[in-house]
């Protein structure tokens, strides 16, 4: 018989399930958990400076590794602070497990100090959540949390543990095993044959890959299918890297900030083979006018995504990797010369225009220069805003899980802690964080965590002294009424980074920008590079929110006009 308290049991279970890093912040209600954690020889604790940072550090570990990652927060403000990271994980289907302390059960419901209804508050932003009412329940709840976080469509799980449960002693005979994840497969062989027949019969098919490709490790199967049948392939923001950017069939990202040719060729397709994507409005534009002539085959592990926004002519509910692998032998080898010629023509007539691509002090030029200095193993995290879209458009991604970005929730402040998390999970790799002056300030306190952990994170702050995408919408759609989007006070990011104990470089003051960028990329440990960007550098093309994807503003090919 093993005898221990609930907190010790929790830590032992986390150890047994392979957790080696936990990000978090202690407080009154989770001190027993921290006391138990202090005795762990296999789990390293990473002290964040804000619980949202801890949540995003866990996300960075989970997004880069594919394994569920754990974060800790105390009750009340600790729990409210971590909620944004949980909501972000929910919308991007990221497996994280958040364990919060709660006031003792005798005080629940009395408006006790640092008491908040963490369980109730986290229901809509988690895949599942638990309020643990006895130490014995932990033997079921913690294994279940790992199963739920990773099974099917992944997502965040919250476990709220009252302090008295953490301190309750229990005796038990057997340790629970890691539960098996159930395999999702709700299609028959004849569905695969029908899908293959539809693909073979299509004249203008397009493969549309989303974040589910990464979760299902389906990129190899997707690329082989595309190559065998010559399927032009587009990707969502979270799908980027599924097919390398330089692949001849790759069309890049679709939607609001896609290349013109990508949205234009989608207009013409007669079959859309969708895998692990959910028809998000930033990808589809006005859904009623998206791919108007296309039949849809929808592959997704979540049955709730089928027919949610776009009716599927054929649905294949299951793991994208398995479905695509089963499809492969059934589709014909095709050269599709007419369709690929059409794609080449649209690409030639409507190329992606990258102003300043040769100037490392301009957005596209900076991103291309960093890509040239990085290796294939380098991980790229972004914050949210113009810099994020420039990176999505211009960085040559070569594999899944290379890009860490907040897609569904679009959370400014995501980039720095996510980059730290990715670096902790992959200490041998360089992690580049592209951020903006708006985003970096939303979690800038984590610079301290980066220095403390010696995280190998290179932060590039693209500073346009404004909330760039907001300002761009005001420019295009609100009569240039730049209200509340331009910062009047300019922060000295280089001095701030140095104040945190980090090396910092000012690209605007550099005589040799390429040399400065090279030095930054070669710096041991964390560093920050400040990059001044003009307020008027916009992200083009742009589909107005709510408009059809063919209604793009900007990014025209004036060279051939």
């Amino acid at each position: 018989m093993d005898k221990m308290n609930g907190a010790q049991l929790t830590i032992k279970l986390l150890e047994r399930f392979g957790v080696d890093i936990i990000a978090g912040i202690p407080g009154g209600s989770n001190l027993p958990l921290y006391d138990a954690l202090s005795h762990s020889t296999t789990i390293r604790h990473v002290l964040a400076r804000h619980e949202q940072g801890a949540g995003f550090i866990a996300q960075g570990m989970a997004r880069s590794s594919g394994r569920p990652a754990v974060c800790f927060a105390t009750s009340g403000p600790g729990a409210t602070n971590v909620m944004t990271a949980l909501a972000d994980a929910k919308l991007d289907s990221i497996p994280i497990i958040c364990i919060t302390g709660q006031v003792p059960q005798s005080l629940i419901g009395t408006d006790a100090f640092q008491e908040i209804d963490t369980y109730g508050m986290s229901i809509p932003i988690t895949k599942h959540n638990f309020l643990v009412r006895s130490a014995r329940e932990l033997l079921e709840v913690i294994p279940a949390a790992f199963r739920i976080a990773g099974e099917g469509r992944p997502g965040p799980v919250l476990i709220d543990i009252p302090k008295d449960v953490q301190l309750e002693m229990i005796e038990f005979a057997d340790w629970p095993a890691m539960p098996q994840r159930e395999c999702v497969k709700h299609y028959r062989k004849q569905d695969i044959l029908q899908a293959a027949a539809m693909i073979n019969a299509a004249e203008r098919p397009i493969l549309y890959l989303g974040g589910g490709i990464r979760h299902g490790n389906a990129h190899d199967a997707a690329i082989r299918l595309a190559e065998k049948n010559n399927l032009p392939t587009t990707m969502t923001l979270l799908g980027l890297g599924s097919m390398p950017t330089n692949h001849p069939l790759a069309l890049g990202m679709l939607g609001m900030h896609a290349a013109r040719y990508t949205n234009l060729i989608l207009e013409e397709c007669d079959l859309l083979l969708v895998a692990g994507a959910r028809f998000d409005d930033r990808a589809t534009g006005k859904i009623a006018e998206f791919c108007p002539g296309a039949k849809v085959i929808h592959i997704d592990i979540d049955p709730g995504e089928i027919n949610k926004l776009r009716t599927a002519h054929l649905q294949l509910v299951g793991d994208a990797g398995s479905v695509l692998a089963e499809l492969l032998p059934q589709v014909e080898s095709k050269n599709r010369q007419d369709w690929l010629n059409r794609m080449a023509f649209l690409k030639k007539e409507n190329p992606f225009i990258m102003p300043g691509a040769d100037d490392p002090c301009m957005p596209y030029g900076l991103i291309r220069q960093i890509a040239a200095l990085a290796d294939h193993e380098t991980l790229i995290a972004t914050d949210v805003g113009k810099h994020q879209m420039w990176v999505a458009q211009a960085y040559p991604f070569c594999r899944p899980r290379q890009l860490l970005t907040s897609g569904g929730l679009g959370t400014m402040g995501f980039g720095l802690p996510a980059a730290i998390g990715a670096s902790l999970a992959h200490p041998q790799k360089t992690v580049v964080c592209f951020s903006g002056d708006g985003s970096i300030l939303m979690n800038i306190q984590e610079l301290a965590t980066a220095v403390e952990q010696r995280a190998n994170v290179k932060i590039f702050v693209l500073d346009n002294t404004s909330l760039g995408l907001v300002r761009q919408q005001q420019n295009l759609f609100f009569g240039k009424q730049y209200f509340a989007s331009e910062y009047q006070h300019h922060v000295d990011f280089v001095t701030i980074a140095r104040g945190f104990g980090m090396q910092a470089f000012a690209l605007g003051a550099s005589d040799d920008p390429v040399a400065t960028l090279t030095k930054a990329m070669q710096t041991q440990g964390p560093c920050l590079v400040h990059v001044p960007i003009g307020r008027n550098e916009e992200v083009y093309p742009m589909v107005p929110p709510g408009a059809a994807n063919k209604e793009m503003i900007g990014g025209e090919n004036h060279a051939s006009a």
Binding site: Y119, G120, I123, P124, K127, H128, N129, L131, I148, E151, G152, R153, R181, E182, V184, H186, I301, D302, P303, G304, I306, N307, K308, V317
Partner: protein, 108 residues
């Protein structure tokens, strides 16, 4: 369990009539919040709800009345995704469970 739970084909949508959904769920204090929260969050329209424990109290039965023109397919799929929902059965016609309760809901 992510696998599709015991599910039944959705009856054709009936714009006028109401539908009744029968759920079997784990019985714990948070389960009603999960069900009601799903309806409000996804803008599904719930017209009535009844919940009582069944058997030894480990499970509860929930009856929900919904408008016939709702997105029945999405409602059932999203409910089945909830960890605490063991089964969801959509009854094709107006079920007598709410009819029998009518006398308790009289008056203005």
């Amino acid at each position: 369990m992510q696998a599709l739970k015991e599910s039944y084909p959705c009856p054709p949508s009936d714009a006028s009539g109401q539908k009744v959904l029968e759920l079997t769920v784990n019985n714990h204090p948070g389960v009603m919040s999960h069900i009601c929260g799903l309806f409000s969050r996804r803008a599904f329209n719930m017209e009535g709800i009844l919940c009582m424990p069944i058997g030894d109290g480990k499970l509860s039965r929930i009856w929900i009345q919904i408008a016939g023109n709702s997105h029945l397919d999405q409602i059932v799929k999203q409910l089945e995704k909830l960890e605490d929902v063991r089964s969801a059965v959509l009854h094709p016609a107006e079920h007598e469970v709410f009819a029998k309760l009518e006398e308790y809901f009289q008056g203005s």
